[in-house]
Symmetry: C2
Subunit: 282 residues, 2 copies
């Protein structure tokens, strides 16, 4: 596995690979790799000739009061995990290279970025779209891999790729969960032991919603109410939002029909967690 | 010369060309080609293996009260002119393909887009940056050619390429002028005969500014005042702005020093014209 720190060098390597007709699979991450990331790297390995993994904690997608500084980092561990999972090139650009002085160009997927997570994290998805556009231009992948755990991010990146005509295909990997159902996330490292137990209520509430809907409930408010009751019965939980929306437009649905996305953000103690489930209803 | 109307087909052709290691030179235009465009196509011909010219009147860069509908179009003439100048592939996408329903992704080069032209044409440069980003992703050029006549556009596109890490080089062609000094523009077709004579005052005022500065004047206000006097002495002229700015940051300069850009927009009758001159001062 090669470690590349320079944008120019990464771009040169990718250009040369493309000239040789190699399929580049790309897994962008913020590091502190867990099984969710590793499953994406393994998936990329199956579908590509060369797997590029980037590690970059993107300041642009953190709000001023968010956890940019304390976000967990462990490049040594990440390097070893990425190598084992089949990564060929680990791309680790510096913040100064990515956002030099007087940086001023941004990509924004309007509307989709202002709802759900976007309502609570102003500017977050503009930061995500911008860094992903930059990484796509640097790595020039044929395939790019994202986890379903960040459901709204997936919708936004797919829309950006379609609208701005990026010459690549997005492949979405399933959410990986621990045995309790908790979706893997680098931020789970913030959780105390008791909080970790509590945190499984996010997925439990999603399963509950699924079961209620399968039993015939089509009223979103009623489903959300049941989820809220379940989550708030646990200690130290605060709900930012629970949304039941169209899975593509992310528009709220009063009546559940078609392919719907149930998304949520919940604080457990001081740790903000997100989770989601896609459900198809006839 | 091949005419390509489909985005997917253009992308496929470009991908295949790049695999063969061909240098793609790209000249994006809004059509109604004049010698300014043709000089860019000829320059592209010299520097590239394959020359792609796009013709697309981009609705996104026109304000609601601007001339999108009446903007001159003549695809038959353009086709013949492009072929003669050495174009290999003429890319002519439809508006529906470029901006399908629910289109919502935009590129914006902040700050640089809000000054000078951007102050008078809100959203113009966001429209320009977005369409150029799309065209870059479709055509995947190694070299892209722009005319110095649209000075602020050049600065913004160069900044976008740098910030978003587009894997290509921008090449700027000189402004082409008619014998009176009037910068060639598709919009010159709006001018009546007497207005066309008047319109040469834009370049004359730029030459006047140059001469005053060469004689030692360093006070921007004084230079602008002389230019205004000269322009307003002509019939049917209205000045939108005259700017003396740093040529890269586009920040206004009170005292003229370094590489400065003098830019202007002036109405002659109902036709809005722009022009500019770069001057180096010790």
């Amino acid at each position: 596995m090669k470690i590349v720190k320079s944008i120019k060098e990464m771009q040169k390597i990718s250009t040369a690979l493309k000239r040789k007709g190699k399929i580049i699979g790309f897994v962008p991450t913020m590091g502190y790799l867990h099984q969710g990331h590793l499953s994406l790297i393994k998936l990329a390995k199956k579908k590509s000739d060369v797997v590029v993994v980037s590690i970059f904690v993107n300041p642009l997608q953190f709000g001023p009061k968010e956890d940019f500084k304390r976000y967990p980092r462990d490049l040594k561990r990440d390097t070893s995990l990425a190598r084992q999972a089949g990564c060929n090139i680990l791309f680790v650009p510096s913040q100064r290279q990515m956002y030099p002085e007087r940086y001023t160009s941004y990509v924004n997927v309007e509307k989709l970025s202002d709802t759900l997570e976007g309502k609570f994290r102003t500017g977050h998805f503009k930061g995500v779209a911008t860094v992903v556009a930059k990484l796509f231009n640097i790595v020039q992948p044929d395939l790019a891999f994202f986890g379903q755990k960040d459901a709204q991010q997936v919708v936004i990146i797919q829309k950006m790729v379609q609208d701005l005509n990026f010459n690549l295909k997005i492949i979405v990997g399933s959410t990986i969960r621990d045995p309790s159902g908790l979706a893997l996330s680098s931020r789970n490292s913030y959780l105390a032991e008791d909080e970790r137990k509590t945190a499984s209520v996010l997925f439990q509430s999603l399963l509950k919603a699924k079961s209620i809907i399968e039993q015939g409930e089509r009223n979103s408010s009623k489903v959300i109410h049941e989820m809220e009751k379940m989550i708030l019965s646990q200690p130290k939980t605060i709900i930012d939002y629970i949304g039941i929306t169209d899975s593509q437009t992310l528009e709220p649905l009063e009546k559940i029909s078609g392919e719907v996305l149930i998304t949520m953000a919940v604080y457990v103690g001081s740790t903000r967690l997100i989770d989601n489930l896609k459900i198809k209803v006839k």
